[in-house]
Every structure is written in structure tokens, then in C-alpha cells.
Symmetry: C2
């Protein structure tokens, strides 16, 4: 059964026919990756860095064709797509710099102590190396930055792993153009084609076959809880289970403390509406619930949110499935007061209702947020404690707020619940930076020990290997006595270059 | 149904009656851990370090009572137990030093760029913190170093997590004495009892209930593939899946290259017998298969292994179940030539037979090894390629060997198969050191990205949390601008203290 891409704004069918990859095609892509994996894992860092930069350059060369098609398939405006392409290139170049510098392999050397009693200590050296072929699942909401050449692919390649991408069926044409750019870069870098593969698929069978393939060593995914959990379960049920990093979204709670509400409630309301409607609310970090303490200032704040939300124009959603899920998700909510129900929606409930209805704590992907009126600031920490795992939480507070008990209690709870806490800001706009954590306790993601964004993302796809008693000539360069790569290494407990 | 400990040497029942923990007792231990987890996660590093040292001291104070009972329950000789206690204390002190020094939290700071275009960059800071209560499963073969106060517990506590130990039913008395020592140390450190809990259990239900408890955030296990996989599966099937680090053993292949065989075959034979019979062959890193190239030197080597193995005296195995599994495992092997079949067993097959019978590649826990006669050195890499994941692999080679193609091909394969490669040594004797990797691809363990031994073991139980736009006073000490802990931090891409 062929499938087609659709114009996100009009629904019309776009040129191009796509097909679920056959089992043979999936097998071929995985085998090709497995064949080249050993050599790619030990390729000189400089060549891996150059490949990542070549991919970044190729995305530029893909030019208008890429941005035009992405615009049609996703409904995202041109400026956003230009920014997203720049972000994607920036990610690739950040990983190139990381790989070129080289210290990310966390080299550790414990030199021999031949005279130690009761037994001599052998020379022991370890470093990180690639885990093996990584299956990457493109996300619908970032057709470039979290898709074919996005952060998962960039970090997996950086660690020395071939990548097999499952293109998102909502933007297959964009995926094809990107894949062609990557293939060109791989070939121009003199590397074998097996380093990068891509398969199409609109049915779950393609995804499951990829995750179950014996050559696949790890999985990266960004998308819904339902799909992410299905891949996680399939990976865990394999004869040889493999790690899955699935980022599955979040409601990204916002806590507005009384002092902040009084001092700058309207400004926060404005920022909030900007954040929850950004990209038509289709970000994993969209603030989906806002807690504030019943007061005149809260009433004013709610009115300001409602007023600004009602002024938001209709934007095209990424695809019909998301638009439908959004409409249905909002329609299902019972017992809430709708403050805005145009293109952007704002509902309000009291805390007792919120607590009694777990469905109010589930993500509704799209331009919607829920305002929860809390009896007193003292109740905020308990509401935080009841949250599921989140990508982010946000606290707005004044100096006065932060010197009080309620804020202290809240701030003590949040680090256990989330990957990133934002103070007096908004959670959308995820910096690609070493200090970023884009992850968090389940169901935000399947393994809170890792991040999907920032240089730390490479650690998802690498594992340590130790070399004991090796002649220097047989060691990888990163572990040779003379440190030919000039990287930082922990030698006998001291970090030296 | 009560259960009892047995004298490993005589089989007689030892004093003391033990009971499977009731569901209520398991729940109570887990809840107690959850209650204290938030405060323990942010306890000053110095106090966590002091706790680990207090536990090390308490193990000393447990004195003869601990070593006597461990000797009875495990059959391990006194000197080994003294050494193992020292190792256990050394591990605790190594983690204490790591926590006191503090840089393990991998603090990263990206300072704000308020003037950046198109959008300002916020101040972003991240660090590692404890993942939450860790369930630790004691191993039968290390009643101290991989049990109640062993490496998993030490690393989990070091990261700031409460621990709930499931005592191994083969040494429940040893576990009780150790647990009492830990409890004393916790109390003497002025910390709440919930930081450390222990439950007994001889039936899988206790283990599964512990892994399924909602308060448990991660699992550490050392033992059999069957039990480890059962815990992994239970953890993956939870409503909120949690990470499991299960170290499940290995056959630890040894490759003896022709030059080494010719130059020092008898010395290698001696070392091999010492290694595979050490601790009555009851180590996860016991070399269980040895590949050598058909030649006169190999024939001599095999004879030397057999002769020395026949001279090995009978040792008590850890418990009746292991002794029975060992006897049955050896009895099931068909088509092998027994070169030694006393207390220590040596079998031999040709490579064709080895390849045809996958069961020959499965671990037999105990003093047994299999010698595999290979047609030519060129065949070694293919045999390595066919291996399952391993904790270790060992290569014996001369300078000549290592300048040849066969060795190069073999050494290219091994890093993909194992956690640690030993050159001209033996895999038993796992150093507790920063550069150690005790782990490896499945089925050696369930997540090759981590190690169970060495300071890196702490990373199994920690996750990153980012703080964005925070006032300095609200940040954890590790992230404060003035760096009050004096740790190494990555600030705007540069590592500074």
C-alpha cells in the first residue's frame, strides 16, 4: 500500500508516492550498517568530524527544495524552517567539534603497579566507543532537527555508529531530500554508504521490524508515549535486549508563585501564551498546565492569558492526525471552564478537580494549556509530588517568593520529577548546549540517565571498553602512552592532557 | 516457609531460620527508602562520604563473626574472605573519595548570552544526582564484595540513593551480620534508617515484588542469566520501566596465538589452570573456553593444562545448587574429549564441533574449561565474531604474533564483543579502579554502557538535571557561581576548578 504526503495547510495530496519498506529492504539497510560498523567505530576522529560537517554543508546545499517541501509537508513557516535548519547544522557542527577535540571518550588510565602486594596491579586503560548501529525514528514536529539528520543521527554518528533512520510518514519528501544530502556527504567523505540508511513506513510493522533486527544495537525516538512505549517493549523483548532512548513528551508544569503573580502577572501571561502557542503548540516542552494560587492577581492573570490566547490566529497543524487528536483531546475534557476556545485553547479548573481527574494531567499536543487554581501556595509542592515524570518544570517567583517555605518545598520536589527546571522563563526553546538535559523520568523518556539534546546526547550511543596489559602499539590512539590525540585523560586519578 | 543456611562444605544445616519477606515487609522497606530519598539525594557530599567510610569501618568491627559465618555459608577459605572484606572496604572508601572530591557530578555551566541573536541564551547549569531508591541483589559468589555492602550498594549510596538489598539465600547469616553493620553505620552517621533496607527471600516472588515496587528506581544484580533476565523483564514490563544493570556472567574466551604457545605454552597453561580453578571456578570472569591452533605446541599445552588440572584438589562449592548445576552441566556435554575429570575438569573439541554445538559456548559455573583446537590462526577472528557478548576476552601473543594479520583481525573483533580485553594475562582478578569495565554486551550484562566495578559504576544510578535561569542562591552547591565545592566543571566549554 503506497502512502502519500499531504499539504499540512490544505490537506491536498503532495507529489510523490512512498511505500512501507519491505522486510527485505529493512534487512538490507541493517546488514549494510552492520557491515561497516566495525571500521566506522575506529575511524579517525578527524574523519568523523569532517563527515558531520559535510552533512551540515549538504543541508545548506539542499537549499529551497528542502525548505519548500518541508513547509508544504509540515505547515511550518519559512522562518521557523530556516531556523530549524540552522539548528540542525549547529548540532552537527557541535558534535563535529566534540569528536575533533576528542576528550568525550572519557579515557582513563591506571598504570601498572608491578610491586603491589598481595598482587601486582596490571596496566588498565579504558575509553568509550560506539555501541553499534543505531535506529533513529524521525519526529513529526521537527522535520529537520529531530529527524533524518537531526540530533539523534548526529550524536550516533559522532560516537562512531552507523545510523538507520525510519522516516516520519508525515514528511517523507523532506526526509528523502535530507537523506540524499546525507548520502552525498557520506560519499564525498569517502565513506561507505552503509553508514547511513533510511526506510519509509506508515505502519508500525516497519518500526517494529527495525527495532527487532539483530544488527540494531540501540534506538533513538522522539514522539508519542504510545509509539515510544511500543518500541521500548519490542526492544526489551528481543533475545538480546537493546537500549531505547525514547523521548515521549510531557505536560511541562508551570508554577506561578504569588509574588511573581502580583509583580508581573500580565507579563508572565503574555510569555505563557507565546510559549504554549509557539509552533502551534507542537513542542514536547509546551507548557500544558499552570498552577497559581487563588487571588485577585490570579484572576487577572487568567483573564490576561485568555484574552491573549483568543487573539492567536489559526495555524496549520503538522498533519491531520495531530489536528484530530488535538480536537478530540480538548473535546474529551469534562468539568473544565473554557476561557478560550478558538484556535488556541485555555481551560481552567480548581485543584480539587485536577487532583480527582488524572486525565487532566495527560499531554494534549497542540495550542492548549490548563490553568489550575490552587487554594494556597502551601499546596503547590504536593501537586508537584503527584506529577508524572516531565521533561521540564517552570517556576515563576519573586525574591520574596523564593525566601518562603512554599517555594523551598516546591523546589525540593521538582528535581526528582523533571530533566530541566526553568526559573522565571519558559520551557520552549531548548538550547543545544553542553548543560542541556532534554529527558527526564518516565513517561517523559524511557531512560532519565541520558539527554537527547546537547553534547551529552552522545553518551546514549557509547560504551566503555577496557584494555588490560596491552603493548602500547596495540592500543587505540586515545589510550596510547604518548597521548597522540592530545585529549584530556584521567591518569592515575589525575586529569591531564 | 522458613529456609536455612547450609554449611557449604558439609551440607549440614546452620543455625538461624530465615523467611521470605512478606509483601508488607517489602513494601515497608521500599516506602522507607522512598521517604528518605529526597533528603539523601541532596545530603552534603562530605556526609555521604563519611557514611561510606563508616560502613567500611563497621565491616572491620564485625570481625570474626562475619568471616566465620561467611566461611561456613560459602565454603570460601579464610584468606579469601579476608581479602574480599578488604576489597569491599576498599570499594566503599574509593567511592567515599570520589564523592568527597565531588567532580563525578559532571557539572556543566553555559552562562547566559543576553545579547545573542536571534534570541538571548539563558544561563543553563546541569549536574548529576541520584536516580532514586536502588534494589540491589546480592551475589552468591562474593558474599561481601558483591552483596549487602558490596559494589552495587556502595555506588548507589555514593550517588545519593537509598538501597534495598535482597540478600542471597545461600548466605543469609552473612547478610544479616553485614546488614547490622551497615545499620549501625547509618545510625552512627545520624542518618535515617530508611537509607538502607534488606529483605530475605529464597523464592523468586520476593525478587520480583522488589523490582516491581513503584518506589524502586533502578536495579543492580549479579548472578545467572536466567535470574537476571527475569528481573530485567519484570522491570521493563512495569507501568514505569526502570533501568536494570544485571551482570550475568560470561565464558571469557582466551585466544592463545602460535608464537605465545611456542614461547611459553607451559607457563600459560599454568596460569590458565590457576585462573579457571580460582575460587573453585566460581568467578564471572573465569576463562571457560580456550582457542589454540593445532600444532605440537598446542598438544603440549593441552597436556600441561590437563596435568595441572588433575592435580587440583577438591574445593567446596558455594552451595548445593551450584555444585549440582556444575556436575549436570559437565555431564550434558557430548562429543568432547575429557582431558581431566577430577574436581577440575578440562574438555577438548575441534573447532568444527565447537561451531556446530552452541551449548559448548554456554557458561558452566565452576572449575571447568574447554580447549578448542582451531585449524589455523586465520580462523580465530571468525570464532571471535561468533561469540555472544562477554565480560572479558584474553589474548596471549608474542611480538611476532601481534605483527601478523591473524592477531590484527582478532583484535579488531574483540572490542565489539567484550567489556575488557586482557593481553598476556588472565581475566580473573577484577581491579577496582577508574579504568575498569566490568560489563559488556548482552548476555554478559543488560546494558553495556555501564560498569559494575570501578568508580564508573556510580553512573548507573545517577541522572542529569538542568537548572535554567536560576538565582545563584537557589542552585545546588555544585552549580553555584563561586564553586564552593571546588569541583572540576565544564564552564562555557572549558574544564575549570
Amino acid at each position: 500500500m503506497p502512502f502519500h504526503a499531504h499539504n499540512a495547510a490544505t490537506g491536498e495530496t503532495l507529489p510523490g508516492e512512498f511505500h512501507d519498506a519491505s522486510p527485505a529492504a529493512i534487512d538490507a539497510a541493517c546488514r549494510a550498517a552492520a557491515d561497516v560498523a566495525p571500521a566506522f567505530a575506529v575511524l579517525a576522529p578527524e574523519r568523523r568530524a569532517a563527515l558531520l560537517e559535510a552533512i551540515a554543508d549538504a543541508l545548506e546545499k539542499a537549499g529551497d527544495a528542502l525548505l519548500d517541501r518541508a513547509g508544504l509537508e509540515t505547515g511550518l513557516p519559512r522562518a521557523r524552517l530556516e531556523g530549524e535548519r540552522a539548528r540542525t547544522q549547529g548540532q552537527l557542527r557541535q558534535f563535529a567539534a566534540l569528536v575533533r577535540e576528542g576528550s568525550w571518550v572519557d579515557a582513563r588510565i591506571d598504570t601498572a603497579l608491578p610491586d603491589r602486594k598481595p598482587a601486582p596491579r596490571p596496566d588498565l586503560r579504558r575509553m568509550l566507543r560506539g555501541i553499534g548501529p543505531v535506529a533513529v525514528f524521525g519526529a513529526s514536529n521537527f522535520p529537520l532537527a529531530f529527524s533524518v539528520a537531526g540530533g539523534d543521527s548526529a550524536s550516533a554518528l559522532a560516537a562512531g555508529n552507523p545510523v538507520i533512520v525510519k522516516a516520519h510518514p508525515a514528511h517523507p519528501g523532506t526526509s528523502d531530500i535530507t537523506a540524499e544530502a546525507v548520502r552525498t556527504a557520506v560519499a564525498a567523505s569517502g565513506l561507505p554508504a552503509g553508514i547511513f540508511g533510511m526506510v519509509h513506513g506508515a505502519s508500525p510493522e516497519v518500526s517494529l521490524a527495525l527495532v527487532r533486527h539483530p544488527a540494531v544495537a540501540a534506538v533513538g525516538f522522539t514522539g508519542s508515549l504510545r509509539a515510544g512505549r511500543a518500541l521500548y517493549d519490542a526492544a526489551a523483548a528481543r533475545p538480546e535486549p537493546i537500549p531505547v532512548f525514547a523521548e515521549m513528551g510531557s505536560i511541562n508544569p508551570v508554577f506561578v508563585l504569588p509574588g511573581a503573580l502580583a509583580a508581573r502577572g500580565v507579563a508572565i501571561a503574555e510569555g505563557l501564551v507565546g510559549s504554549f502557542t509557539l509552533g502551534v503548540g507542537q513542542f514536547c516542552t509546551k507548557p500544558g498546565v499552570v498552577f497559581g494560587v487563588a487571588s485577585e492577581a490570579w484572576t487577572t492573570f487568567c483573564a490576561a492569558v485568555a484574552e491573549r490566547a483568543r487573539a492567536v490566529a489559526k495555524g496549520a497543524m503538522l498533519h491531520e492526525g495531530i489536528a484530530r487528536a488535538f480536537a478530540e483531546g480538548c473535546a474529551r475534557l469534562e468539568g473544565v471552564e473554557w476561557l478560550a476556545d478558538g484556535p488556541a485553547r485555555v481551560a481552567r479548573v480548581d485543584a480539587a478537580t485536577y487532583r480527582a481527574r488524572p486525565e487532566l494531567g495527560h499531554e494534549i499536543f497542540g495550542p492548549y494549556t490548563l490553568l489550575v487554581t490552587v487554594e494556597s501556595a502551601a499546596g503547590l509542592a504536593a501537586l508537584a509530588e503527584a506529577l508524572e515524570g516531565q521533561l521540564t518544570a517552570t517556576v515563576h517567583g519573586s525574591e520574596d517568593d523564593f525566601s518562603g517555605t512554599a517555594a523551598a518545598e516546591l523546589l525540593a520536589v521538582l528535581p526528582r520529577k523533571v530533566g530541566r527546571i526553568v526559573c522565571n522563563g519558559f520551557p520552549t526553546g531548548v538550547e543545544v548546549a553542553p548543560a542541556m538535559t532534554h529527558g527526564g523520568p518516565y513517561p517523559a523518556c524511557t531512560d532519565a540517565r541520558f539527554t537527547a539534546v546537547g553534547t551529552g546526547a552522545i553518551l546514549r550511543w557509547a560504551r566503555p571498553v577496557s584494555f588490560q596489559g596491552f603493548p602500547d602499539a596495540l592500543l587505540p590512539d586515545a589510550l596510547k602512552q604518548a597521548n597522540p590525540l592530545g585529549i584530556l585523560r584521567l591518569v592515575d586519578g589525575r586529569l591531564v592532557r
